[in-house]
Symmetry: C2
Subunit: 347 residues, 2 copies
DNA sequence: CTGAAAGCGCTTACAG
DNA sequence: CTGAAAGCGCTTACAG
């Protein structure tokens, strides 16, 4: 009986020298046809227990694993989303990733996560990822001058950019709208009588961020001159150095808006180093609404964006584009989410 | 000319009513054979510019995307790793995930990331993930009594458990060895004259963790009675409540080992609330070595495990099992990594 | 430069 | 209960 031959002659006689065992190898080893192997492997009816056991034994002996490509070709396949983030070490991205994975799971999609920092060639990374998934979501080309070059059409899959520039309509995206949140923050600070506010921005010397410009302009509209400090990339370290510079230029500052929560943590730490009380002497606000801010002392007040909403919209767009119910570019391919002030302790 | 027909009659005439356009649809639309479409899509030589342009136009018109299954069946395919984590909101997991994604990228593997918290049925989630990838790494069944039920054989793909119990040899895994690190921590604390140490453990009332037992036993060997507090799941909140309980039972405590860094942050915060100085009055140590601890004030001393090493070993095992060069169970399928004390400021 | 043929590994009807 | 046939969407030789 063929089943016995397997046990006696062992694995190597059956496994092809190169590559894995296929359904045909298992069928041969068990002395049955291919579809009998399918029945055994997939717990389908119409197979005798004896045969099933024999097939399963042969499969195990050969370390047989059905090819997901062969199967995918013929069965309605699991869809998968590619999520591209810059750096999981920045706490913003895990929160986004968790939200996206959750939103995708709700629709039965799984998520391939790629980190830009691990790629030597970002553009190639994006193309490779695109080849493995049904739609792409995240920060695609975010750090690059050519952002926008990787269009949907070039990639071959729908592309949903997170935090996309409002004017970019050549692919899908979720637009982040800071206007409301920044206005709320100014209002909040003004209510405390703040007159010497500072923006510690993540930017080069001549390029304020959108939120930075809104903050400065908002104060100007109230007749208050806000100091704008470009501090470089948004890390705890630049938060510290930014605050030092701010203190140098405006020793009597009474409020700080940091570009994001991570930078705000640096600001908090630097203020503590100077023995300056928060929020009594200086009020500090971050941006993003990360759960990290809850751990700070004092707990960080922040202009928050709801990443669960962002994720839901992004996944919804991607799934819709994949299904053809959402256009893959133009205004119809965009959604907008507003920031909102979350008052905690630091302001 | 067929190319014109596409432009004139538009998309819908060509796209099959159900499902996406295939290579055959594009070939028909462009009036060429299938392999000419392949040549155009993949930038292969042996095609005239005119033809290529015509094919590309048709492909775009039909929103044609090559099926990754069809392609995967016939080309040496991109391998992918499934990484299963419990909850990305716990900062331990993003650090692990980032390391695993990096290690996988070095070998040309991509990573599907699944979060256990999003699954209604964990076992099913694991099976589905297994069907999409070439190997599985991470916390598989970690939170479940039946941990170990999901074997390599049942799943059909190699399984590498991270932080596997040392006695589990029925599948691959990376073993975490706390002995050295805990011993170093005790030595370090003893050097400061600590005599009233406390372990705030993540555990039920009768089940100390391995590190918890090592800590208590290590002190006992020095004739010092360490207080053991079971505080429940390891969060900032339980860190706080655990410290409160410890203070109740031993008001003069002079050192705390928390189950992990996240809990230690809670301990730090609670001590600050009581106006107790760290490290002057009480020395605090966490476990894991997360970068988060650098942000704490004072910076957190911690018994660290090198997640880059863990990730490299886990991926190495998974890749080796996939390639057949590493056994899929038994002692040969395991690697061990030791914790080591990282002295920062809190102790 | 272009196309007819074969085959990748699997599953789904359809016969027996 | 079991197997012979057809086909999923693609690419790789091989002819012309």
């Amino acid at each position: 009986m063929p089943g016995d031959r397997v046990a006696v002659s062992g694995v190597d006689a059956w496994r092809p020298a190169d590559g894995r065992a296929t359904i045909v190898d298992v069928a041969a080893a068990a002395g049955v046809s291919r579809q009998t192997v399918t029945r055994a492997m997939n717990d389908m009816p119409g197979i005798s227990p004896r045969t099933k056991a024999r097939v399963l034994a042969a499969a195990q002996e050969l370390q047989y694993r059905p090819s997901r490509f062969g199967r995918g070709l013929v069965k309605p396949s699991q869809r998968t989303l590619g999520l591209l983030v810059t750096d999981l070490t920045n706490p913003y991205y895990p929160e986004l990733a968790s939200a996206v994975i959750g939103a995708a799971a709700e629709r039965g999609w799984s998520v391939v996560l790629a980190e830009e920092k691990h790629a030597t060639d970002h553009r190639r990374q994006v193309r490779e990822l695109a080849g493995q998934v049904d739609a792409l979501v995240g920060y695609v080309g975010a750090e690059h001058p050519g952002r926008g070059e990787d269009t949907d059409e070039r990639l071959g899959v729908p592309l949903v950019q997170v935090d996309v520039e409002p004017h970019q309509t050549d692919h899908g995206g979720v637009v982040f709208s800071p206007r409301l949140g920044v206005e709320q923050a100014i209002e909040h600070l003004a209510g405390f009588g703040v007159r010497r506010p500072v923006m510690i921005d993540s930017a080069g010397p001549d390029l304020p961020s959108r939120r930075g410009r809104l903050f400065v302009d908002g104060w100007a509209a109230r007749g208050v001159d806000a100091l704008w400090i470009p501090a470089g990339d948004a890390t705890v370290t630049t938060g510290v150095s930014g605050l030092e510079r701010a203190l140098g230029e405006r020793p009597d500052l009474d409020a700080v808006l940091a570009f994001n929560d991570v930078m705000a943590l640096g600001v908090l730490s630097a203020l503590r180093g100077h023995g300056i009380g928060v929020p009594d002497q200086v009020r500090v606000i971050g941006v993003d609404g990360l759960s990290l801010g809850e751990l700070a002392n004092p707990r960080l007040t922040t202009i928050a964006i709801d990443l669960a909403v962002v994720a839901r919209l992004a996944v919804e767009l991607a799934v819709g584009m994949d299904g053809g119910t959402v256009p893959r570019s133009g205004p119809g391919a965009r959604r907008s989410v507003s920031y909102q002030l979350h008052v905690r302790e630091s302001a």
